[in-house]
Amino acid sequence: MAQASEDNLNSTDAIINLQDAIALIDNYPALSGMNFRLEQGETVHIKGPNGAGKTTLLSLMAGLLPLHSGQGQVLDNDLSDLGDRRRIRRLTGLLSHESSLYDELTVFGNLKFWCSANKVEHEIIDPIMDRLGLSGRLRNLKVSSLSAGQRRRTSLAVIVCRRPRLWLLDEPYSGLDEAGQNLVDAFVQTAVTFGASVVFASHDSDRAKKLASRTVEMQGGRLKTQKLDSGSHKTRDYIPIESGEPLPDGTHSKGGNAND
């Protein structure tokens, strides 16, 4: 790990560097050789069709998944090392499609628990709840009785409380109303000015385009290197260059099972 991180520091200040990363979800190669680089302070929008591997990519970068093969560094930590992955998790905020909330606890109870679990002072909770419109009536309501959008905002509040260096947001706008979506944008932009970097996956292209400094398109578990003509449905005739390309020998697919 030490060596990898030194190389990293010397060469660039990349926050994330993935090379030919393959990651499995229940033995299925959800990521099939992903290359990705994220510089400090960037806001990158990941787009792609359903099942392109966006969620897996975010989990991998959060340190929750092991690499099956390939290389990856996140925040100067190596993804193929378990101890490093644990460090990555603490520095990263992942807003996944699941709420990560306890349905039976109140909004405030959930925030209090997650702040304690993340070793964050409780003073931060109230201002964040205010800011996300969770104070007042909602504060002492059970999460199970919240609407999808309110839940989403509570999950977001947990991420904000953690003050992560790297924000990983999976469909941050889903279920949110116009105001909520604007709020997400505002949080992301402010976090970036305070030195955070952001990767988010979204199908809301218009909104994402405004927020993101760069857009990356995924397909089949890796980068879609060549862009299709927009608005064309005739993708059936289109064969991407990669598909005919043989696997580079012994690099990804023959890599045995992932041992750390």
């Binding site: 989990s59 959060a62 340190g63 929750l64 998944l65 092991p66 378990l82 644990r86 998790r89 603490r90 990263t92 905020g93 992942l94 996944s96 699941e98 709420s99 990560s100 909330l101 306890y102 349905d103 039976e104 606890l105 109870g109 628990f113 997650w114 304690s116 679990a117 993340n118 059970k142 947990v158």
Partner: protein, 240 residues
């Protein structure tokens, strides 16, 4: 050295945090007390229906069959209920992907294990009290030695919940966990059931001259499973 102490206190702090949270979830949802407790009381009553209440003579004492086997029935009821308690405890973590969130928070797997197991222990301990009270009433049992009974109930509850949490960790994330977990857990609980039953018999009938032997053995098991669980939970929780 200082680092180890620091990590240990942090671990215990996290464990207590998780345990407190689980208890709070239970207070708010009342699944254990609203559903599992009535279930275990019902098991006792069904045992009463299924087993004859003829008088039998053991040694110089004359008891009903039901009274004679009441310690075993009590612990059977607790063992079955504990399956539900363990299941419930892990369901609240898996429902919304909270286990991943706990890992994201950098909580030591040993702390997750200890926290879940402590909360389950507390809940099963309260089940013990209610089920035990009903057993005393309907099986007409009389307690002779309260201290042995107390230690027995405490140690048995700890070992049941520790082993339960360990096996829930082994099957976590699998779609077949609801059926697989009891298959793994019940044979493991066989010695606990046996020892706890003997020990309770000693407290109830005090014919057994072993006295403190059984509760001590049970305490050893409780420590053993706590240790195994804390050591192995890291391997079980990672990248499931």
């Amino acid at each position: 050295m200082v680092r180890i102490v620091k990590e240990a206190t942090l671990m215990i702090r996290d464990a207590l945090l998780i345990a407190k949270k689980d208890v709070r979830v239970e207070i708010s949802s009342r699944v254990i007390f609203g559903q599992v407790l009535p279930f275990s009381l019902l098991i006792l009553i069904l045992f009463g229906l299924a087993i004859s209440s003829d008088l039998i003579v053991t040694g110089d004492a004359k008891r009903t069959v039901l009274e004679q086997v009441s310690p075993g029935l009590f612990w059977l009821a607790i063992v079955f209920s504990s399956l539900f308690a363990v299941n419930r405890s892990f369901k609240i973590e898996s429902d919304n992907g909270n286990l991943d969130a706990l890992r994201m928070a950098g909580i030591d797997p040993a702390a997750i294990f200890l926290g879940k197991a402590l909360a389950i222990s507390l809940l099963i301990f309260i089940l013990d009290l209610f089920v035990g009270a009903l057993a005393v009433v309907i099986f007409n049992a009389s307690i002779i030695d309260f201290s042995i009974l107390g230690v027995t109930v405490f140690a048995a509850t700890i070992s049941i919940s520790m082993s339960g949490t360990l096996y829930a960790g082994i099957t976590a994330g699998s779609r077949s966990k609801d059926t697989l977990m009891p298959l793994l857990l019940l044979p493991t609980m066989a010695p606990m059931l046996l020892i706890a039953t003997r020990s309770t018999e000693a407290a109830l009938f005090s014919e057994d001259q072993t006295g403190w032997g059984w509760p001590m053995l049970l305490s050893v098991l409780a420590f053993l499973y706590t240790g195994i669980g804390m050591l192995s939970f890291g391997a079980l929780m990672e990248e499931s």
